[in-house]
């Protein structure tokens, strides 16, 4: 394996300099370039998705008041800048769709899987570089279709990101026809992009690890991304199938989900959530892996319970297949199924708890250096705890009777997805930015962004628990139409104001990101004094990553090891007294 890898490296190092701009940066097969392409696309969707949410929040806080700048919107969406209910439903739908499918998922499965896997296992690139390129360029038309759906007659999809039929299948019910169809087509295409990526990641991790990189010497991000790729491989086809059936119901007159044509609405829910629950673990496992990495590095201490962490990742992934019914407790499915799913759902909280305790134990007796990545990783732990604990309420079927489809669920979602995944992503970007771009992100801007985000984020989403407990349902264009919700309006306005401030704070991140890419302080190869293999490569690494295939001698978390000179010990540093291996210039055969 290593011999082939070296030959690969040599060949590529020669060719790379001859590539035209379009092959180097647009249609590139280099996993690092592809990772950065996904990064630009996903960050764009993150910002637009946030803007959609802020527009929604405006309407909730001040129902019927013209949106500032809303005059540019067409009459069909917001006459005179005042939002129509059907447009609100589209905003709700597209906010969720953009964030889950085009922001968070590609940030993890497109950006960090792509960028980190070959580097952290000591490989020159992915197993299938051209498939990797196809994966990004398949995601692009999917993204364009989704954006285009705003501009067709009837507007964008408006049945929620969960798209339950019959509402999503029959245009007369939602008022949206083409937009709903484009939503299906876009996600079908995106699914293929994800599957291409998953195949690549799994193959690469199994087959292309550098010599000495045994399974239990893999950094936790790789474990997490590997297991996540398996989840993607198995779960996404279910969604694709469900979407195809929905699309047929929309355009061909079939009746998979429509009772008048012999179908069942609940079929969609089972299929969607059978994908949907593993999907949320796809969205949280890579952040967990990256947080472990950043915390161990920041505390100068091994990850506490590395093996337990790996087992927990596998347990979460495995158990994630048998909990989907907890999204359907009140759906009309047999209530006895509810009991079964409640038990499995309660159980799946355990591996997440294990991981939380292990993170705490990693910090215990550590030597914690507060950097921006560490701050974000700590915020992940603190916020993920809240998200996880709120999940216990909805896992209990009788309590779920009350809180299902209320803002309590919205609070939970955002504590795990924003408080969890997004904080981890911010931390991971700050941590690996030097490797990606050869420059450090601006520290002061990073800290200001972190604190503003942390404060406004909590002020935005924590009150949603109370809104939900007060009985506020989801997806309401105007809560004041319900007498029991009018007393909650001050809280809704409070949430909106903080959401607007939260949105404004993200501009700092954008500014930092863009400015640092070109004018940031130049980074050394290993600015964080970390152990994993990517830090042995230059910042940024050349095409082919390593001039010499690394040889791995130890695990990734040998921080503050007794007898070591420094408080870190890179994986590929030869043990004391052993000379570095000579670079092999010809294949060993």
């Amino acid at each position: 394996m290593s011999a082939t890898a070296i030959e690969h490296v040599g060949a590529h190092a020669v060719q790379h300099g001859d590539l035209p701009f379009i092959r180097k940066y647009i249609f590139s097969t280099d996993h690092k370039v592809i990772g950065i392409q996904f990064l630009i696309m996903s960050l764009g969707f993150l910002l637009v998705g946030g803007l959609l949410a802020l527009t929604m929040r405006w309407q909730i806080a001040w129902p019927g008041r013209a949106i500032p700048g809303g005059g540019i919107l067409p009459e069909t969406m917001a006459p005179g800048g005042i939002m129509l209910p059907e447009f609100y439903n589209s905003l709700v739908t597209m906010h969720g769709t953009f964030m889950i499918f085009f922001a968070i998922m590609p940030l993890l499965v497109g950006v960090f899987a792509n960028y980190l896997i070959p580097l952290q296992i000591g490989a020159p690139d992915m197993a299938f570089p051209r498939l990797n390129m196809a994966s990004f360029w398949t995601a692009v038309p999917a993204a364009l279709l989704m954006i285009a759906s705003f501009f067709v007659e009837g507007g964008a999809a408006a049945a929620g990101w969960t798209s339950y039929p019959p509402l999503s299948a029959v245009a007369e019910f939602s008022g949206v026809s083409t937009g709903q169809e484009l939503w299906c087509l876009s996600l079908i295409i995106l699914g293929f992009s994800s599957l291409m990526g998953a195949v690549n990641y799994i193959t690469t991790v199994i087959n292309m690890r550098a010599p000495g990189m045994t399974w239990f010497r893999l950094p936790l991000p790789v474990w997490a991304l590997f297991i996540t790729a398996i989840l993607v491989l198995l779960a996404v086809p279910i969604l694709t199938g469900a979407l195809i059936l929905l699309y047929f119901d929309q355009v061909l007159g079939t009746g998979f989900y429509l009772p008048e044509r012999g179908g069942q609405p609940l079929l969609w829910q089972h299929l969607f959530w059978f994908f949907g629950h593993p999907e949320v673990y796809i969205l949280i496992l890579p952040p967990m892996g990256m947080v472990s990495e950043i915390l161990a590095n920041g505390a100068r201490k091994p990850v506490f319970g590395y093996h337990a962490m790996v087992i927990a990742i596998c347990a979460i992934a495995f158990l994630g297949w048998i909990v989907w019914g907890h999204h359907m407790f009140q759906s009309g499915m047999n209530p006895m199924l509810g009991s079964t799913f409640m038990v499995t759902t309660m159980i799946i909280a355990v591996p997440s708890a294990i991981k939380t305790f292990n993170w705490l134990a990693t910090l215990w007796k550590g030597d914690i250096h507060f950097t921006v990545p560490v701050a974000h990783a700590l915020a992940f732990v603190g916020m993920f705890v809240i998200g996880g604990l709120s999940g216990v309420f909805m896992a209990s079927t009788p309590v779920d009777i009350y809180i299902h489809d209320t803002y309590f669920i919205v609070a939970h979602i955002h504590y795990v997805l924003f408080g969890g995944s997004l904080f981890a992503i911010f931390g991971a970007i700050a941590y690996w930015f030097p490797k990606m771009f050869g420059r450090m992100m601006n520290d002061r801007l990073g800290w200001i962004h972190f604190w503003l985000t942390f404060v406004f984020y909590n002020l935005t989403f924590f009150p949603m628990h109370q809104l939900g407990l007060g009985g506020m349902m989801r997806r309401l264009y105007d809560p004041t139409q319900y007498p029991h919700l009018e007393p909650l309006q001050p809280l809704n306005r409070f949430v909106t104001v903080n959401a607007l401030l939260l949105g404004a704070a993200q501009l700092l991140f954008v500014a930092n990101f863009l400015w640092s890419m070109f004018r940031g302080r130049k980074a050394v190869a290993n600015p964080w004094r970390a152990n994993s293999l990517e830090w042995s490569a230059p910042s940024p690494p050349p095409h082919g990553n390593f001039t010499v295939t690394p040889i791995v001698y130890r695990g990734p978390y040998e921080y503050s090891a007794p007898g070591a000179e420094e408080d870190y010990l890179p994986q590929d540093r030869p043990p004391a007294g052993q000379p570095a291996p000579a670079p092999e210039l010809v294949p060993a055969q």
Binding site: G64, E75, T76, P79, G80, I82, L84, P85, E86, A134, P141, L145, A148, F151, V152, E153, G154, V170, A171, E172, F173, G175, T178, G179, E181, L182, L185, I189, F192, G253, G255, L258, E260, R261, Y477, D478, Q481
Partner: protein, 289 residues
Amino acid sequence: MVRLHDSMALLVAGLLLTGCGGGGGGGEMAGGESAGAPAAAAIDPTTVGTIAGRIAFEGTPPAGSPIDMSEEPTCAEKHPNGASTEEVVVDQNGGLGNVFVYIKEGLGGGPYPPAEGSPVLDQDGCVYSPHVIGLRTGQSLTIRNSDGLLHNINAKPTTNRTFNISQPTTMETTRSFPLAEVMIPVACDVHGWMQAYIGVVDHPYFAISGADGTFRIENVPPGTYTVETWHERYGTQTVQVTVAAQETADMQVTYSEQMAANAVVPLGAPIDLHGHDTGKHAGTAHGGR
């Protein structure tokens, strides 16, 4: 993989064209289609005639069902004596209102004097006003919400394109229908008793009978025509009418309750999820409960 992309691209291109074009259907936002029309030439009264008459109802009309508006106090207050469905509106002299009368056959095909103004379909007191409205093809219909609360206008034509739009507050929206269609049912889903009918014809020779059953169609070119009357419960009847210049052709039509049993009421289809076209619709669209 390449083949998949190509067909998806075709599908997508096709869908986008359908979505963006919107030309073949109705329910479009009314632009300024009257703006480009030539100025109306003054009609010479010596060359045209009139069709006038009365729709009568024989027997005792069925009473409208009372509408329960207690969940919508803003509207209930506008009906201090209560409100009833307007399926059959008969005055004390037996005149049947809300009958759509129009020339069905015999016209030369135009050119007709251009449509003027924008008729208003108002939602006032959670009731459509008027209950039956007539429109020229391409003419702008102003849908007005006078109640200041959520109404949605769910129009279900068969020839024109359907639409379902909301008006959450006091506001006006305009729509037009490019194709002739008698009649287009319009309903509000927030207030299930609300029902109206829009008749779209491509000429100006239509009228709706008033509360006393009388109607009048003016400026009709001389000729012999088939005139059809449409009622939402009792269906259609046709009459042959000859119009001479400067004369009024009289038309008397009578409906009775017995006609309800076998009435043929041409109507835009309700949502038919069985996926087959039933052609003529032998039922009426009842909105009231």
